[in-house]
Symmetry: C2
Subunit: 334 residues, 2 copies
């Protein structure tokens, strides 16, 4: 059966890198949302716990509830509001004014400020109204944050967003008497801002081993392995897969079929694309829902231990290759 | 929260179509593998049960075990062998000679014959050895089948595969004294063969509403809906999403963000692609892990009720758009 390994040493390497970068491992906030970018949320939470990471971000309450045993000091819930009392470490992100009145009294919230992403968050001209509503609804403003849209690009947009964010934070500080935390950095952002100004840094893809900004310093955590279903010897002209779109070039060619397909959330390769598994063997013809073929007869193959090649084949980003992999594939920490 | 609807009337329409095509609804064998092509295996099994479908195909034992309450007469398990006794209606597909000796005594099996797919199945020159091994291991040969690789193409390859299959079946019949069932058709195959010759027809994508061979007669079952996270009014030149790659064209543009992203197994659209949700509204800029943006401020939007447009945008097939959608998205039968 196909399975995924999660490399603890590689995770520790990445966590060390970002701890050093932001100056303090206690400020690391790990993005565990979307099943930990497809890696398996409970497995990655265990690694965070073992490393001593104190803060996490998830997508919704159902993900936050999976983290109970891992003792996070704070868990930011990005896309759901609190209509009842939850654990004290649950912190609800406010994406729009309506979210404020959707939360019950005493809910801990963090205001997301829209500084140019143009998606979610309170707009600058809505700040006064937001603060009034927080007060009226008796919510606890635990923090204020923003999200960079282009921190991985070589221009000043992140710097400009940060400036706007800090101005907004000061405006809020003038109106709120108690202390609240502030944060803005994502993976690429930590290279652009003065990290000492912020209480936490939210690191996602970098912790999983990918970032164009510091690729050489990071190590991908996930490897995907597939097991052989069958082997056969094919002859020149024989077809492989749907449309028989791969034609065997020589007699007595040894070919095997492995148990990963697009039904696993793995991306379908077609006959026009050149895609290779980790050892350099070509994926032959079209990937089926349940399997793919390659040369040789190894009992097991590593499909990838670095998603970069496949992300280029599919004109996408590593995030997507990783997050699509279905939760039903077995995960093992190594 | 985002959710998926599964339309029972559309399913019944498709089931009627294929029942008529093959002459008898008792011969319908529904492909429920890979979480029912992403639709939700237990929901689709319930629809099959209500319609009176008696046969199913799944990927592995864990999927077969989910079907217990739906009284299928036979469940073909494609990619796992029986190392212990399972329910009487479990039938294990034999993909290679080694699979035969992996099954315990009295396991019901079906021999898959490789007639040109070049992936799994017993090769023609291995038939004698396979029959000897079945006998030696005291397995029950419940059936013999093959799989077409190009039944949806306008050429004779399926006919040639069928001919080879029937010759092989006759060869086996001469050596086996008891009756076994035979089948070869998939969705497109039913249009190419004389269906009265076969005991069942295995229908996958057609039952879910897609087939180039008879598109006008089928109705897609699945619709995907997303809920609004937030709305904002943006001005000319404002960016949306990562890289701020969509630039707003006019002042006072109403834009909303919805809770489907590539972290749901939905395919990421980038700024080079032109993709639209079901009502024709453009997906603006890059899709994020958790959300996408479009014009307007509807509380809820239908992302798609037909996967064909998105499959073209992503240069793939509808199957992949459907199967990648994660099981955690709520399903509702309507």
């Amino acid at each position: 059966m196909a399975y995924i390994t999660l490399n603890q040493n590689n995770f520790n390497n990445n966590a060390d890198y970002y701890s050093n970068k932001i100056g303090n491992k206690n400020k690391l906030c790990m993005a565990l949302k979307d099943n930990a970018y497809g890696h398996g949320i409970e497995y990655m939470a265990k690694m965070c716990f073992d490393y001593g990471i104190k803060h996490a971000i998830v997508r919704d309450i159902s993900e936050a509830l999976l983290l109970k045993e891992f003792d996070f000091e704070s868990i930011i819930i990005l896309y759901e509001t609190a209509n009842k009392k939850y654990d004290d470490n649950f912190i609800f992100s406010i994406n729009c004014l309506d979210d404020i009145s959707s939360c019950i009294k005493n809910t801990k919230i963090e205001l997301k400020i829209n500084t140019g992403m143009g998606r979610n968050g309170i707009c600058i001209n809505e700040i006064d109204e937001a603060l009034k509503s927080i007060n009226k609804n008796e919510l606890i403003l635990n923090g204020v944050f923003t999200h960079f849209h282009s921190a991985d690009e070589k221009n000043d947009t992140a710097i400009n967003q940060e400036k706007l964010f800090l101005e907004t934070v000061n405006k809020i500080k003038n109106k709120i008497t108690y202390k609240f935390r502030i944060h803005c950095s994502n993976t690429a952002g930590v290279h652009k801002v003065n990290n000492s100004l912020y209480d936490i840094a939210r690191i996602g893809i970098g912790m999983y081993g990918y970032s164009d900004t510091c690729r050489g310093s990071l190590k991908p955590i996930m490897s995907l392995y597939a097991s052989k279903i069958s082997t056969r010897v094919l002859n020149k002209g024989d077809g492989i897969g749907y449309g028989a779109s791969y034609k065997v070039l020589e007699d007595n060619t040894l070919v095997s079929n492995y148990d990963i397909g697009y039904g696993d959330g793995f991306f379908r390769v077609n006959e026009k694309q050149n895609a290779y598994i980790q050892d350099g063997s070509k994926i032959l013809g079209r990937i089926s829902m349940d399997s793919f073929s390659t040369f040789g007869d190894k009992k097991e193959v590593c499909v990838f231990s670095n998603a970069s090649h496949l992300s280029k084949v599919h004109d996408t980003i590593e995030y997507e290759i990783l997050t699509h992999l279905l939760p039903r594939i077995k995960r093992i920490i190594i």
